[in-house]
Amino acid sequence: MDQATLLNELQLTYPGAVAAVQTAGDGIPTLWVEKNHARDVLRYLKYRHEPFKTLFDLTAIDERLRINREGQPASNFSLVYHLLSYDRNEDVRIKVALQGDYPVTDSIVDIWPSANWYEREVYDMFGIRFSGHPNLRRILMPPGWSGHPLRKEHPARATEMGPFQMPEDEAEQADQRLQFKPEEWGLTGTGSDTDYIFLNMGPQHPGTHGPFRIVLALDGEVIVDAIPDIGFHHRGAEKMGERQTWHSYIPYTDRVDYLGGVMNNLPYCLAVEKLAGIDAPDKAKVIRIMMAEFFRISSHLVWYGTFAQDVGAMSPVFYMFSDRERVFSIVEAICGGRMHPSWFRIGGVAHDLPRGWDEPVREFVRYFPARLTEFHKLVMQNRIFKARTQGIGKYTLEDAVEWGATGPGLRACGFAWDFRKNRPYSGYDQFEFDVPTAEHGDCYDRGVVRVEELRQSLRIIEQCVENMPEGPYKADHPLATPPPRDLTMHDIETLIQHFLGVSWGPVIPPGEAMVAIEATKGINGYYLVSDGGTGSYRTRIRTPSFAHLQMIPLMSRGLSVADLIAILGSIDFVMADVDR
């Protein structure tokens, strides 16, 4: 469905609702909707004959300093709703212009329950209030924070603020604010004939995989309700995107999903390339795919081991980590770095493959399948493991679509939807691989999907090594940063480009583009707004773990504390990916 069709349809249904249309760099139909019609239009889109069932992302842009906004309605803050339909493989982006310094708009939590955390994040970051939101409070920043970080007037560096001080009474207040008050969350603390225990799990707890807090209302050991509390790992990655140049932001992306390594570079570089109009050469594409799949293996191995450990097994994690070391030694041989090589560049990759790179890769392809078989016996076929994970933490496909679950969490519900297959990027359409699925959507099935993905990734890597194309590893384009090395040595134009790219940073033409990829934990997307500068005007990182953590109460109610730990393990999240 194209932009014009949708525009016609909306104009017929809600005359006067659409304020403008916009041509986005990524080709996603983008419509500006009047603020007072936004709820109606969004509800209509969710329930129309060809529905957009998933709220893929909800974010905002502080437009007050933006220069290049031709054709867009006047706006101080723009809300961006990104809707997705898996069935038709279509997107639509709805934008709402808001006026005023601290605008107020209507919440859509009653339309999409998953909007809850997204609206809290927008409130936290921009100060935009949502009337009708059940519990509009800060989500990423600490409760006592003053200011809203993604507003343009908020400083981006600590050095722009006064010296940091935390006198004792203030520290005590900060502690007090972290005290859990059940009534703030609509909990009473008593059931029909019992008083509940409120158990504070985290942010320092061995089972929460990072600084993640979850407050449990317990009846004995049965979870009556769970309140996830995030933000302890927030480092302002989106704000840093506005401060860094397009090029120098790449290392920050590595650390968003810190187990994903260069997999994080990929959506960012693809989005910048889309804005700049660069098409990476074939060799760069294949190298990118190969490295990304290595990181999928490495990330899934961490999940495999820690999941087994969450269910009580001590040993598997050591076997998985020692194989992860093998992956890292290959990554190190090729990229130089291990966990965060920051190796992709705008227009290609940092270097050509080193001489003899294929031997360790082939060796690994030969070695790994036997180990996977062994792991399968060790973990997936264990009876206690099965008893602990089967039927636990279940959700249906409808829930998954509704709440924005992606990646293995979606495919475990029996829905073969993989970005690499359904919207091939970076040349994935040239590879043969299967999209594994499972049927029950429980902890065990999420595991089944990931375990099979390990094999499929290995298959892709094998095809990469057998069919590595010849040619340049970086695009011959003025905005490729840094430009191809051999050209800079012989060609004054390219040398100047190199100089500008290094001293200022490349100047990317104005525009907006969203690129999402099938990352290790689900769909990871970068929505970049360029205002024609050397850095991004707004960097939005849509991470899979954020959406998944919001589903924890749904998955864990009525189960026990031990089950919750298994659920957390099966989601496969890292807090850096949630909090950014």
Partner: protein, 318 residues
Amino acid sequence: MKGIILQTGVALAILGVLVAMSAGLIWLERRLLGLWQDRYGPNRAGRLGLLQVPADMIKIFTKEDWAPPFADKPVFIAAPAVIMVTVLLSFAVIPFAPGVAVADLNIGLLFFLAMSSLSVYSIVLGGWASKNKYSLLGALRASCQMLSYEVFMGLSLMGVVMLAGSFNLRDIVEAQRDLWFCVPQFAGLIIFLVAGFAESRRLPFDLPEAENELVAGFHVEYSGMKFGMFFVGEYLGIILISALITTLFFGGWLGPVLPPVVWFFVKTFAFICWFVLIRASYYRPRYDQLLSFGWKVMLPLALLNLAITGGVVLAAGR
């Protein structure tokens, strides 16, 4: 008079050996786990990392003796002592070799069962006195688990008692001269192993401390030597269960060529290593699964074993 001095000497020697063994187990367990988990384990302090044990001891003895201000102090302090005392007392009835035992009780086995029942107090009181929700959950799990598993632990041993015709552990060993009880009482052995693991709260039965879920469960608030007592108590428990398996099912000190006491320790050592291997290879079941396994599988099995053994003994007319 001379007899009393000798007896005291034996008792002290046993105590010394046990404490030294349980300290050595710290090193042994970590090295064995390292071996099975493709890593080294402690190998820095001294040859083969053997100085790890004194280093750990020095550390744990010199740590600040601290109790959280909100804890119930007297109970908090008494709880770790209870486990040490009960486990050490249980060793009193174990015959290490002919004549080498602290007490030659004619109700030795009952004494062991009584002591192991008492040791659960240590866990429950420790968890309760800590006034920490994780400790409380751990203590609740412990009491439930140990009460359920004690029932068939006792029952699983009655087959041995029937065959030997005595509760005295020395007589039980002597009764195995022709055939170790692990053969006629194979079912009893399996049931006792499961119950023994549950009693010593080791994986897969470490639910009371389940680090992934309850951080450290009942001893989450303990540190320094008070924690050390729980720790050593756990290791002593492993030695105790291993020694009992040896005594009750594998002929105790009986064996050719080597002196009896050596045989006893060789057998016990094998079971200790086996304990560690199990820890390295098992998953942790959930609380309710553990209890239903106990009551629905192990208890009927123990009763069945008891009935069949009784029938056979009766038929044989002994």
